[in-house]
């Protein structure tokens, strides 16, 4: 085989180098820990009932019980029934149905007041949701959004970059044009426009917005790699042996550019997790039955000056730790994967 494809060696070497990098390993451990949390939350083993209102409104964290001036919720207030008020001579169109209900339930049922916690491990939000549970559930959403969107963007960027760099000529011109268009439109307007097209249909919208706007960086690098590689000997040889274009592009060249792609992917995850916060600020966040770090930070936006800092702190810290670890891991990966870099 005339192909100097060093992939297996590259990956083994990279792993050996990574293992020697203490910071890299710690970051890896942190990232893996977060992924475990995501996995557990996804499976419904933890943080399943984050929507339950377990505490009083703005319950403070246990380690910081403050001077409560919101009182517990009064429940079971009496309400008027249609036949107890003046109908001003009008006929109730539901008189018959209400009569039947009255016959079946002569006692006027009242809900019993619920018991709610005065403090929660990391405090509660305005409804009394447990912030700890929310952060965990939010990690699931934010990390999944970041990961899937990054994979989407990377796949898009890689395929376009590969095709563009490999075929060159008018194909390259076309994708370069597309790249030019996407990078020239103000990012803010691009988000608004794509968001408007997609409507608000849940988490998938955010993933699409991020994926469709985020492919350009990958494209540029992958295209450059393919430009470099397509005239290398091993590719020409594969071509001479009758390998199809697709085979040459994705079986022969792709493994040799994979380190570039992996680093880009990892960078995109970090970038997208942060972008989700800004999307939430602009109103394109997750729907109300989903919680994410972005939705928490935006909720907490007005809470700080009210002295309810715990949601801001919890979501901000959870996010900062993951993003830091992921960024350091990206650096470590880059160092481990790129043998040319000796520093």
């Amino acid at each position: 085989m005339a192909q100097p494809n060093a992939s297996p060696g590259l990956w083994t070497l990279a792993w050996r180098r990574l293992k020697r990098d203490r910071v890299g390993m710690v970051s890896l451990a942190v990232v893996v820990a977060y992924l475990c949390v995501v996995f557990l939350a996804l499976g419904g083993w933890i943080a399943k009932d984050w929507t339950r209102e377990v505490g009083v409104n703005y319950a403070p964290p246990v380690f910081f019980p403050d001077d409560q001036d919101e009182t517990a919720i009064p429940l079971g207030k009496s309400v008027a029934l249609p036949d107890q008020v003046d109908l001003y001579g009008l006929q109730d169109p539901l008189a018959r149905q209400l009569e039947a209900i009255r016959a079946r339930h002569p006692d006027d049922a009242r809900s019993t007041p619920e018991r709610r916690q005065l403090t929660l491990p990391l405090g509660g939000d305005k409804w009394g949701h447990d912030v700890l549970t929310k952060v965990i559930k939010g990690s699931e959403t934010s990390i999944l959004v970041g990961l899937i969107a990054a994979i989407l963007a990377t796949v898009l960027g890689t395929v376009m970059g590969a095709v563009s760099g490999y075929f060159g000529r008018w194909v390259d011109d076309f994708f370069n044009w597309l790249y030019g268009v996407f990078t020239s439109i103000p990012y803010l307007l691009l988000i608004f426009a794509i968001a408007a097209v997609l409507q608000q249909k849940g988490v998938s919208t955010i993933i699409l917005i991020l994926g469709l706007t985020g492919w350009t960086g990958v494209f540029r690098l992958v295209r450059a790699e393919y430009l470099k590689h397509k005239s290398r000997e091993y590719v020409l040889a594969a071509g001479a042996m009758g390998a199809s274009h697709a085979r040459r592009m994705f079986i022969h060249i792709l493994p040799n550019t994979s380190h570039v792609i992996l680093v880009q992917l990892s960078q995109n995850v970090v970038g997208f997790i942060k972008s989700e916060v800004i999307l939430s600020f602009l109103g394109f966040g997750v729907p109300v039955d989903v919680v994410s770090w972005g939705s928490m930070l935006n909720e907490a936006q007005n809470e700080l000056i009210l002295g309810k800092w715990w949601q801001l702190a919890a979501a901000g810290t959870a996010m900062a730790i993951l993003v830091t670890a992921f960024s350091l891991l990206t650096d470590a990966l880059r160092d481990a994967l790129d043998p040319k870099l000796k520093y």
Binding site: V181, S184, I185, F281, Q301, L304
Partner: protein
């Protein structure tokens, strides 16, 4: 390739890109961008009023006709008046550009200066504790959301400590620069410095590995001199182009700072325009920023060539 031919070719290439931008924005916003007539008509408007407004704004015409008008507007540079306030669009951008620049240019200069200094420092002591801890700190810094920086920063530094005004903008350049822009600029730097440090560090390390550095060291030049004169001169090329190409994106990217600190900049204006479906402003913003981006890229390439004639213009 000679410079003139290069310039002409690049400028010529801008036309299809701009056309793509125009088409994309036009169709996206026309298709889904909302109908401003309903908000302009007020709360008691009847269908006739709506039709009247749509007619006056020209949005009842066929799409191709509207597109033609758009292209005409780009060629003449006159985007008409804002639908929401009747103010000429050009006047809006004229008044918004100043505040945006007062915010962005200091931010860019400080960011570059600090990032280059740190990058040089950590490269000089690469692999040391200083290098590692500075890199770690910068990673942590950029891991915190800008939104959190702004919320906490405004609360702590402007309100609790009273070091800066909470918000505001005046008519005087110096007052804006030295009073109102300070805190937003510093908060913006918190997130923007770290990526630059990391990037510039790689630029500097790229240069340090070059032969000429070894030669310079061999000649017995001091390490400081090698770094500051030889390495920096060469690393400056990618750094300057990087800064230049990042500028147009910054123009619209500072909307969070502009909103929280009540700075009348471009980003905030765009959000307002989208909220009101003020299409003339959206169109103008797109075209202006797209052109600025493309020109910045061209300028970056030229600069690259000028600083390092080895680089070929293609």
């Amino acid at each position: 390739m000679n410079l003139g031919a290069f310039l002409i070719r690049r400028l010529w290439q801008m036309i299809p890109t701009l056309l793509g931008v125009v088409l994309l924005v036009f169709f996206l916003f026309n298709w889904v961008g909302g109908d401003p007539a309903y908000i302009l008509a007020g709360k008691m408007a009847n269908p006739d009023d709506i039709a009247n407004i749509r007619h006056q704004l020209g949005i009842d015409r066929p799409l191709w006709e509207q597109l033609l008008i758009f292209v005409q507007q780009i060629v003449t540079g006159d985007f008409g008046n804002s639908w929401a306030t009747q103010e000429p669009v050009s006047a809006i951008f004229r008044t918004r550009l100043g505040p945006s620049l007062i915010l962005l240019i200091p931010m860019m200069l400080l960011e570059t200066a600090v990032a280059v200094a740190v990058a040089l420092a950590v490269s000089a002591w690469r692999g040391s504790t200083l290098d590692r801890s500075l890199m770690a700190v910068s990673t942590v810094m950029m891991s915190i959301s800008l939104l959190v920086y702004i919320i906490v920063g405004q609360y702590v530094f402007a309100y609790l400590l009273g070091w800066f005004p909470v918000k505001g903008w005046s008519d005087e350049f110096w007052r804006n620069l030295t009073t109102y822009a300070v805190l937003p600029v510093l908060l913006g730097l918190m997130v923007s410095i770290a990526p630059s440090v990391r990037l510039y560090r790689t630029f500097v390390l790229d240069e340090i590995g070059q032969d000429y550095v070894r030669t310079a060291r061999a000649k017995g030049l001091s390490e400081t001199r090698v770094l500051l004169v030889h390495v920096l001169r060469n690393a400056a090329i990618p750094i300057v182009t990087n800064v230049l190409m990042g500028l147009p994106a910054l123009l619209t990217g500072a909307f969070l700072l502009e909103r929280f600190f009540a700075i009348p900049g471009i980003g905030r204006e765009i959000i307002l325009a989208v909220e009101r479906s003020d299409f003339p402003i959206i169109k103008a913003a797109t075209v202006y920023v797209a052109m600025a981006t493309m020109l910045a890229n061209l300028l970056g390439d030229l600069l690259y060539h000028w600083l390092d004639p080895r680089v070929h213009l293609e």
